[in-house]
Symmetry: D2
Subunit: 402 residues, 4 copies
Amino acid sequence: MLRFITAGESHGPSLTTIIEGLPAGLPINVEKINHELAKRQEGYGRGNRMKIERDTVEITSGVRYGKTLGSPLTLIVANRDNKNWKSVMSIEPNDDPKSRQRRAVQRPRPGHADLVGGIKYHHEDLRNVLERSSARETAMRVAIGSVTKQLLNELDIDIVAYVCELGGIQGQADISKLSLTDIRKLADKSPVKMVDSSQEEAVIQKIDQTKRDGNTLGGVVEVIAEGLPIGLGSYTQFDKKLDGRLAQAMMSINAFKGVEIGDGFEIARRFGSEVMDEIAYTPERGFYRLSNHLGGLEGGMTNGMPVVIRGVKKPIPTLYKPLQSVDIYTKENYEANIERSDTTAVPAASVVAQAVIATELTQAILEKFPHDSFIELKEAVNSYREYSKNPEMWQNGVGNHG
Amino acid sequence: MLRFITAGESHGPSLTTIIEGLPAGLPINVEKINHELAKRQEGYGRGNRMKIERDTVEITSGVRYGKTLGSPLTLIVANRDNKNWKSVMSIEPNDDPKSRQRRAVQRPRPGHADLVGGIKYHHEDLRNVLERSSARETAMRVAIGSVTKQLLNELDIDIVAYVCELGGIQGQADISKLSLTDIRKLADKSPVKMVDSSQEEAVIQKIDQTKRDGNTLGGVVEVIAEGLPIGLGSYTQFDKKLDGRLAQAMMSINAFKGVEIGDGFEIARRFGSEVMDEIAYTPERGFYRLSNHLGGLEGGMTNGMPVVIRGVKKPIPTLYKPLQSVDIYTKENYEANIERSDTTAVPAASVVAQAVIATELTQAILEKFPHDSFIELKEAVNSYREYSKNPEMWQNGVGNHG
Amino acid sequence: MLRFITAGESHGPSLTTIIEGLPAGLPINVEKINHELAKRQEGYGRGNRMKIERDTVEITSGVRYGKTLGSPLTLIVANRDNKNWKSVMSIEPNDDPKSRQRRAVQRPRPGHADLVGGIKYHHEDLRNVLERSSARETAMRVAIGSVTKQLLNELDIDIVAYVCELGGIQGQADISKLSLTDIRKLADKSPVKMVDSSQEEAVIQKIDQTKRDGNTLGGVVEVIAEGLPIGLGSYTQFDKKLDGRLAQAMMSINAFKGVEIGDGFEIARRFGSEVMDEIAYTPERGFYRLSNHLGGLEGGMTNGMPVVIRGVKKPIPTLYKPLQSVDIYTKENYEANIERSDTTAVPAASVVAQAVIATELTQAILEKFPHDSFIELKEAVNSYREYSKNPEMWQNGVGNHG
Amino acid sequence: MLRFITAGESHGPSLTTIIEGLPAGLPINVEKINHELAKRQEGYGRGNRMKIERDTVEITSGVRYGKTLGSPLTLIVANRDNKNWKSVMSIEPNDDPKSRQRRAVQRPRPGHADLVGGIKYHHEDLRNVLERSSARETAMRVAIGSVTKQLLNELDIDIVAYVCELGGIQGQADISKLSLTDIRKLADKSPVKMVDSSQEEAVIQKIDQTKRDGNTLGGVVEVIAEGLPIGLGSYTQFDKKLDGRLAQAMMSINAFKGVEIGDGFEIARRFGSEVMDEIAYTPERGFYRLSNHLGGLEGGMTNGMPVVIRGVKKPIPTLYKPLQSVDIYTKENYEANIERSDTTAVPAASVVAQAVIATELTQAILEKFPHDSFIELKEAVNSYREYSKNPEMWQNGVGNHG
């Protein structure tokens, strides 16, 4: 089982994660992690902070000579901006009220964790909340996702993500005929990480206009994974169902408000006969489906078809326009009028979404297959793939169907 | 922490669950559990099996003189149909191939766990899968949900569920002005558990027509919970975010393909300025929001507004119309043409959805508050409610805002 | 991963457990479970209640045609004495103070959970504690242990337990040359489950005399498991160390106060040079040790030698002799003078100890090997056994040691 | 719930841990952590490496202005020796066989994880095992233990540890009359951390002689905790029993082979009447016991008496004297003859033992009491302490004992 905890404040010295439970002998490429971290910082519609931080990861345990040791990995991403925040984020006791008031926050921003976090944890200074609730934390989840994606890739499992809707403008192209490689290429070269370039211009214009208006935009991202073994997850217990766990992963990304698999909410508008994925078989391919309305998951398990999952990200809470809030000490209303830099972070969200899905899929693989060492894992996955094409192998004794 | 495991095959002697971690001294009303179980069996569009089973629960541990003991609860729901399945579901070894073939399944149904489960677990007889993957299991989740709902109710937290869309027909009424009591009354008297009676007739006609066509319908259900303390869940770690956990709970219900909170996917089409829930304060009410686009969750935590969450259920896989599948032994295609009885189970799904959300919310409450005994829990919740209205209480030492 | 929860009050209708995570296709023999349950009820020095209860298990889920389904197992053991306790243990509300006082306990027994449990859970009637804290619960752990022992046995892993000390009298025989089969035979035919028959008579006399004196005796039990694959557990994280987990399992048995592995506490009195298990190798046997001071565990992992673990059980709390306690309501001292029937339960404790160790070892096996189906598990274990004899297989690329 | 993962190789750049689940607002004193780390490095009988490393901790998240934030803490302890191991412990790929052979280990040491770890994880170089299985990891557990001990101390819970036996020589003094403060003072000034100074000289001589002989010594350490609330842990489920969990914590320390609570193994030699802790009551003190044979734990719960737990540490595996092992590649026997520096690490083990017990007790406290913020925790603990002295408070409705 994979376990990991992420840590770190947004303006503290660094973000850290420890990942426990990876097989020994898995090749780890640090550049690939840095590449994903860079992708998280891109995307049309971001402001300036992104340029300050050029995130790179340092690995301080669990890897030797380019491979995992079976012991826990420590990943550290420094916060480059920390040098300007040393005294504000100091761990030393500070009994000087003046000094403590520097950068203190007592006016909670709507749409953020500020107010609730302050009440829950008895924080006098809401900075104590926002430093951790910040989406900066997603850098760590991307780093973890890149490690797990490297595991998936070594097992010939591919995963991509792209933006399918931004600011209400949906990509129109039918991507069902594209390979994941093509999808990745198209998304990578798009400033808004859309596959359908015909909508790109409209989206960019909308972002520009929205920026001028001091407003923000949300959107929908999609993650697709191919090559997964049949039977990850299980119907036998509610908390083993992979669809539930993928939903948890996706919805736990900052600002996500919905998740859907396959046809998702659209499926409520169809007849049963329209959404059945009929079953076929060839010896080469094994069992497969003639369609993929269910997004690769049946009975809470992967069925061998691509896993298709979408998440919706709300617009970044904006304070450009005066918004009513309440000072937590004076209890007086005030109208916030603070500038912020990002118009949309949906392209970045696609990178995060891919990362968390990669991580959860890896978890499901490790649950199903032996994984003390990567060599064992790979052999077991490949041998199971052969088995699952050839059901003769599971005829352990049944009667009259000779 | 609440732990529970459900067990039981669809035609086995019984379903069982053990619930561990409930406070001692919580009043448990068996009739309320039976009432929820009955509601799960209702709903226009169900077939005949529902009439066979009149589910009632038996409690064999953890309760004495009408209150929990602090020890684990065992809940058992007998499968009344089991008497006809004794030999087929026997636990005794059976080496007679003829006898083993009785009711054996070797033709997997599209849209079910049959095929994948058979491959994963090396089952020669797919009955071994479908007996457990059946939605019959949701009876147990409803029973658990009723126990946890009783806990919520004792803490003055209310929760309701209803059908907001069925067969593509959406309720049109604005329910935002209705009390939960009214919503419950309206849904309870509706054969399709909709609140908006103006659409009911259209929905019933659609169900009737669909039944004649041998087809099936899906839909969308909504759960609303009110009265929750501020600050359930946490932003401090990805797996503590309550939105993610609610999504997991909802998506783990059989046949659910999507989940959304508050404005959900619609939020992708709005500007940031349109979806901000501004903050207000009165001494009586404490902090609250002027709107509820975010469905009661900010930063992965309850913010004191009603929690609003929806899930989409796909149409029941139907085999009325010939569907292609493959015999797992002969590998030959066949066209299934089997009758089934339910046209839609969306009304029932609303009962299940309410149950799983009640359970997860209870979990979050138990994590936040002391809960060895219910008396402690109740006191702590009430005292925290007072505290959270009055932020003076959390001024532990800050400087210059006297 | 194996999960299980046990439930049930001592005089309630039944004990129940649900076991989740067993592989599909594992043969389950109900008679073997009943046999272990019977052994738990035997042993010289028990009183009369043991004759009332002749425990037998009923399986109501998870098994079909003699094999596991991969879905959760429900095991139920009826409390035969329940018929005399129906009203006292009723789950129905009871507002009649007179009736509630029947069999109510307000005088906590020293050495039991009564007083602490009452305080912790706010129980007015300490019966609410003792019904669950009773060692009756160990029947369920024995049932689980028998299921997991069946799994171990199918993998050619053997496990035995016996009493090595009772009432201060230690077995003197060197059992290191005996096979586990012989140990089991000797323990099985001994009324006190000792292997060394030369001490048996002395032990029985001590029990008889102690019974006449109205006193009780404790003792030490040992569990030995052979045939375990090398490398169960792990040094990579503190909570993966198998020695810690076995200690937890053993110490969680009612009334156990100590646990030791291999030479245990004696090892503190030896020089390092005396307790080293030197390493040897033959192609047939693979790597092995020339001695077993460390009881089969190095670095928190099985090393291929027999796992040897002991636990100490305190004498049953006795109230034959007047003992001071305090009435929880009047706060007055009283001297308890209640009769009880068991002089010692150490022989039974050996059965429980074996069960919990079998369960934890099974857990460790399932963590290391694939286990959706038993056929996969068995193949993987056997193939790994071959591999671990032949380290050529793990030369994945190293340099100059040809 | 407290979660933590430790990471780091012995000669890698640093050890790291992330601790998740601590309350917000807990004062954290870094010097106290460093003080405990220093104590772990002391003790008569250690060799020279201890002088190289002067461990100090760096906190990079979770603390601000001297208090916890409620977010995860990251603790980092640099390995000062790492500068000499940069290339050997490099995370960069290394395809040069010569270079990879530097400091490679192919001769497993008896009594270490080397051989088993190599087999389990398919490591060609056993250094990949020993870097992590090294007792160096205990520095991290001491750091965690110091953080949790600070929490305990703030709740007026005290905890000490000392060496009660070393090299077969037991302390003779009756410490039952000493305060924990006195025990700590005596142990702190003893070079072997014994309380009984009369045995100190003999122990030191034995260490000196053993060092000259090239041998090693083990011993027994005891941890005592006072001031714990009544009712930590629970009898309601096997894995909630605190005795089992403390045993797991203690036994998971490197080289520990046994653990006992209260009278421990000696209790097997006593009559029941000799080991009963009779119950008494005064309004000031509440319920208490007239003795403490059971070491503060009844029914798997703290009973208000001091928790007393001992662990036995085996002698450090020694290679001074030629020991037989087998080269994993050539399979040839060899006789190891390598020098090492420590004669005994039992004094250090007492520091580690205290740390892991402090951590597990903290876990149990967090499970029982609300702990989002330390202020809530402290209030709840104190209020419960009052309650538990005064059982009138838990008379919620019972009948005829007015």
